[in-house]
Structure formats: C-alpha cells, structure tokens
Symmetry: C2
Subunit: 264 residues, 2 copies
C-alpha cells in the first residue's frame, strides 16, 4: 500500500529517531516489549514499531475512531499481526498503571491545551525501567525558501488554527518544560532536536500535495472556516503557491523537531 | 588542549555530518585526499578532518591572520602533522583550478555579502569528481526556551550586526539557491538540514559563556558599537540573561543548519 498522505509516509525511523537506540537496548534485554503509540493516526509509525519488535506487541491509540480502520488496514497490508488499535484519549488512557515498556507520541502534544497532563498520563502507564518518548514540531523554527506572501499567510493560518484549537505551534522547544510539569525529574529527561524537511522534488511535491488537500477540503480548511481564520479564495491562492513552490529548483522547507526521552 | 571557545569545540563530526559519508567513500578509492577548509578559524574542524584522513592532507584557510597561530597550535596539540594553515580570502582562493578533492566551509557564507561568489570560487578549486560542502546556520529558525526579553534583544543584536556587516542570518535555507547562482547544476546538489543545539547543563553553560564573552568584550560587542546597534548597559543585561538561562532546569537552544553537497 502506497502512503496516500503526508501522515502515512511516517515510520519509526523518520519520526522516532531519538527513541530507536533506547528501543533496541530495551528489546535486547526483553524481546517481548509492550509499546504504546498514543495518537497513532493512520498507524504507519505504530506498524513500523511492530516490525522492529517482532516478539513484542504494539498498541496504537487514537481519539479519532474514523482513522482506526485505516490504521488496521495499513498494518495488515504490511503483514504485521503483533499490533492492535484502540480508541481512547491520551488524557485518560484506558490502561492500568505500568502497562507498557515504551510509550510514544508524535505530533500529538502540539495540538493539546494541557500537554503536560497527557505526558503525566503517559508516564502513569509506563513501567518502571521503561521510557516515555515524544517528538513534536516547532512552527517557530519553520523555514521555507523561496519566501512568498501566500506561503507566509499559510504559516499564519496553520499556526492560528492550531492556537484556536488550544494547541501550541511552538511545542518543540517546550517539551522539557512540559515533562517537568508532568512530574518528571530533570535528570531522567534527555532532550534533543531533530529536523523534518522536504528538499527533493518528490518530497516537495508530496508535501505540497498534502497541504493542498488540507487547503482544498481537508481538516485544516474546515477548522479555519469554523474559527473564521481565512477565506475561500485565499485558501486556493495558498494551494497554488505551494504547487508552484514544489516545482521550483531552488526550494526547500525545514522545521526543528523537539525530542524528549523520559526514563521512568 | 581544552576548547577555550564555542568555535573551538567544533569538529568534523559536529560541523560536517552531511559530508562524512561522502568523505569516507572518496577516501576509500583515494586515501591521499586533499581537503580545503575555507574559513577555518581556530582550526579544530580542519584538525579533525586531518585525523579522519591520515594519508591525506588538509589545508585550513582564513582571512584573519591573527587566528592562524592558534589554529596551528590546536593542530600541534592534537599531534596532527598532515595539515597546514594559510592566509587567504574565500573570494580569491590562492590555489590553482582543481586543486582539492574536497572543499568545505562552515559558518562562513552566512557572513558574506555575495556568498555565491565564494561558492563559485570553491567550485573552481575543486577537482572533477570531487565535492564542495557547506553548512550554515539559519537564525530565522532559532528557538530559545524559556523566552526572555533580553534574549530576544540579543537575537536582534546578533542578526543586526550580521546584516550590517553584509551577511545573511537566514543563510541555511538559501544555500541551494546560492549554489545554483554559483553555477552548480541542480542535479549535482544534495540539500539537507541538520541542527545545532545546547540542551545539557554543560552545553548551555558553554554556550552562555561564549555569548557572554562576545557581549562583554568580544567581536560582537565591537561590531555592535561600530554599527551603533546597542548600548553598554544592555550588553551586560543580555549577558546576565544568558547566564541565568544556562542555569534553568527547563532551558535549551536549537537552530537549523542548512547543508549542501555539490558534486563537481
């Protein structure tokens, strides 16, 4: 199955690079690891975790029940069976204390009003000796070249919609502060930064296509209309600007990704 | 010899990660590689390149003759002999066409008025089949947590001084555009993004110490005074803000680094 959206192109390698060395070392002493992917969306990251843990088990959880069949489909298409997907909120995880060796989330906390409460809950379901890992973008670090007024307005739209929904576009830089607020000890938190970027023609087209879908009929457009944060004609202008950007030979887009690992 | 400044803590591993795989593959077919580090400063990156190329040779070049004895000292302290340091401008490199297998620069183009002319010159002295590599920060992507008005003013000061000197604080995102302007073919340029960050207490103290030196008596202060971009008391306030930032348990700083590899 080809990834049909930006979200579906994600794997553990692209989206959890800071967790992988720890994951491998945990799996060496216990091949039967239990991993929770909180806010799994279409489940491609969860599926690749399951492939990395052939004797372990992965649970993908999402609040959005509509996405779960797609997640199951992606796992099945990859021939992965050591996985299941369940409905649930990251604020009230439907699991007992200390259920998982590894608890992970990516591009989840950035959308939440009280992200430290989600981290507190993730820490609750993590086993002692296990780890909680998060990776979240920081829109304050986004660089797009060449610049363009319509792409600038898109940035404002995207971050405006995120804020209107209670989220924090500058999540990446705050992960450590949130982890401490969730009760983690500083000496148990490892902080790092990674990047997400679209540099090759294929990557840029993929990126532009995803953003155009969001602008022409996806969730971003619906939310922008709801919060009265933009107008129809302008969404179309932004979409065209992304399409043109993708085809330029000197263009790229990059953003910092904040990364934390909390040892419990 | 302990690194005495932020600049001196840099090595090929920290500052040329995008070049290393190509460097190793070039060195496999020709162990006698010639590498030019253009704008080498205190020479710690040049020295680590020389260590990676025990049968090759490294030339460090800098316009600032005052830094060259320090660069030679750093190389000697590391026991490195396959290296020499010469005075020169990256705009008029004192070398014949096609002299080097690898031509590298880091945090150099960001300071220049016509960085594409420097890249053109770097391409001139690179051998056919060789490579030109650059890595430059992008201050537009800098994220500092927690935020503080004095640290915000510092960002304006730093980027203002850079601009007043003819440089481009948003260099990272423009490397590809500059490479094309220098005559490189798009299909021969590989673009990527890395990060520089200060997350641990030691890293933050090291960072703050370097910035405080710049504010209390270093080149930044002198340039700011020259361009009338700040005032004495405020430099001291910024320095204190950096010192406080370094000691906080929830603080970090990160920035994107634009990276290009041009195959000649």
């Amino acid at each position: 199955m080809q990834p049909s959206t930006l979200h579906e192109s994600r794997t553990a390698t692209t989206s959890a690079p800071h967790l992988l060395p720890k994951l491998h070392s945990l799996a060496e002493s216990n091949p039967h690891l239990n991993l929770l992917d909180a806010g799994c969306g279409p489940g491609t990251i969860s599926t690749s975790f399951a492939q990395l843990l052939p004797n372990g088990h992965v649970t993908g959880l999402d609040l959005n029940t509509a996405i779960l069949p797609r997640a199951r489909q992606n796992a099945a298409a990859a021939g992965v069976t050591n996985i299941d997907f369940v409905e649930g909120s990251v604020f009230t995880l439907p699991f007992a204390d200390e259920s998982f060796d590894v608890v992970f989330c990516h591009q989840v906390l950035i959308h939440l009003g009280q992200p430290w409460e989600a981290l507190r809950e993730m820490l609750r379901v993590a086993k002692k000796g296990g780890v909680v890992a998060a990776r979240e973008g920081d829109y304050g670090s986004e660089v797009v070249w060449p610049g363009d007024p319509a792409l600038g307005r898109f940035h404002e739209l995207m971050t405006g919609v995120m804020r209107a929904g209670g989220g924090t576009p500058e999540a990446g830089r705050q992960l450590l502060a949130w982890a401490l607020k969730a009760g983690a000890e500083r000496r148990r938190v490892e902080v790092s930064f990674g990047t997400s970027s679209y540099c090759t023609l294929n990557e840029r087209r993929f990126c532009a296509q995803g953003l155009c879908e969001q602008l022409r009929g996806g969730g971003l457009r619906a939310k922008a209309m709801k919060f009265e944060l933009g107008e129809d004609e302008d969404f179309e202008e932004m979409a065209k600007a992304w399409e043109e950007w993708a085809e330029r030979d000197n263009s790229s887009l990059a953003m910092l990704q904040g990364q934390i690992l909390i040892e419990k």
